[in-house]
Symmetry: C2
Subunit: 209 residues, 2 copies
Amino acid sequence: MTSQVPAAADTVSRADRRRAKRIEDILRIATSLLAERGYAATNLDEVAEVLDLSKASLYHYFPSKEHLILACLDRIGDATNRQLAAVAASAAPPRDRLHAAIRGQVLVLTRDEPAGAAIFIHDLGLPEAARSRLRELVERHDQLFRSIIEEGIRAGELRVPDPAVARMLMHGAINFIPSWYHRSARMSPERLADVVADELLRLFEAGPA
Amino acid sequence: MTSQVPAAADTVSRADRRRAKRIEDILRIATSLLAERGYAATNLDEVAEVLDLSKASLYHYFPSKEHLILACLDRIGDATNRQLAAVAASAAPPRDRLHAAIRGQVLVLTRDEPAGAAIFIHDLGLPEAARSRLRELVERHDQLFRSIIEEGIRAGELRVPDPAVARMLMHGAINFIPSWYHRSARMSPERLADVVADELLRLFEAGPA
DNA sequence: TTGGAAACTGACTTATGAGTAGGGTATTGG
DNA sequence: CCAATACCCTACTCATAAGTCAGTTTCCAA
């Protein structure tokens, strides 16, 4: 793969750093355009122009549009999963971990990587390879939530008639947020994250039936 | 507009019915392709081929791709809003109306018009005119839910810290359903609709804080 | 039966955007 | 200092898909 940074930590030359930074820039721009336009409507000429490059130069770093987009997906996937993995592995009670996980995801999607959710949902028009990569990322992501929730149910902290349905409703609710929330609005990302986490936890805490 | 059926009810000739049916067929096919591919990746040659027509013939009914897609949006919007409007206007208590509204939406999106949700969320790549039309439809749609919820709060049947956030979480959860639910799965659309409505009502019924 | 409108068509034009060719210039390890 | 290599460019090719044109066929009403 082209997007690889030379792995050896001993010889990380200036050129290597420059290259890594270039790639990072390209991915950032491409990701945002991809998120707001979709795959087919994202053209490389424009990506290049924003970066003050020519399209041909992009092909120096990525062998095709599809590879470029794959790299974007990986980058977003890493960003969203890293934070989540830390939460999932913590020692807190499951209910608190679920709260923190939701809160963290909302923060990532509203504050750090606003493009993330759009890409997660909008698999439309992606070439098949990208779609299947996306499915893997989403699967890993979902798995982290699933493990927390299952543990919470076993521990008796969470009660829910159909955990699978509740979990998917939760994903939908979270991923939809960036399309209606705008930072200029009445609420800070942090406050929003709190409110959302409180609200969505209700999906997993059945009343005293 | 081209998609208009001659309005007069007195002279609805056979030719008129044929034309209306043709247009309905075109819209149905175009909508499903649009939903599974997105705007840019939907090409009229393919729409025409599925219908056993030539692309040029499509231009006999619609002046442009954009107009065709606008008509698709209207059709979906009508389908999803008709059912909802009936529920909203009923005399039942707000809580029951909200339950019925959610249930109805889930049924529409899983059983009747599986393409609906995809189009509601995936505004990516749509030309500006279509996006703004979409915003209108979504706005009307949201307004119906909003009125039910506000009434429920006034009546004391619903309690929720932030109604606007809760409502948007609900929309996200509902619209995401078609992308994970498949009819072949373990649950019928009707059963799913019940479960989902039960679950999502929790977002609007705060515990005894 | 027939004239005219509606329905439909294959063969175009045109614009756009992915990817390539071929050749410059800057950087850097030796 | 000097190749080698990385980087970047202009100017193409080529495929695709929207939209047009100049008709032919089908249908229906008078």
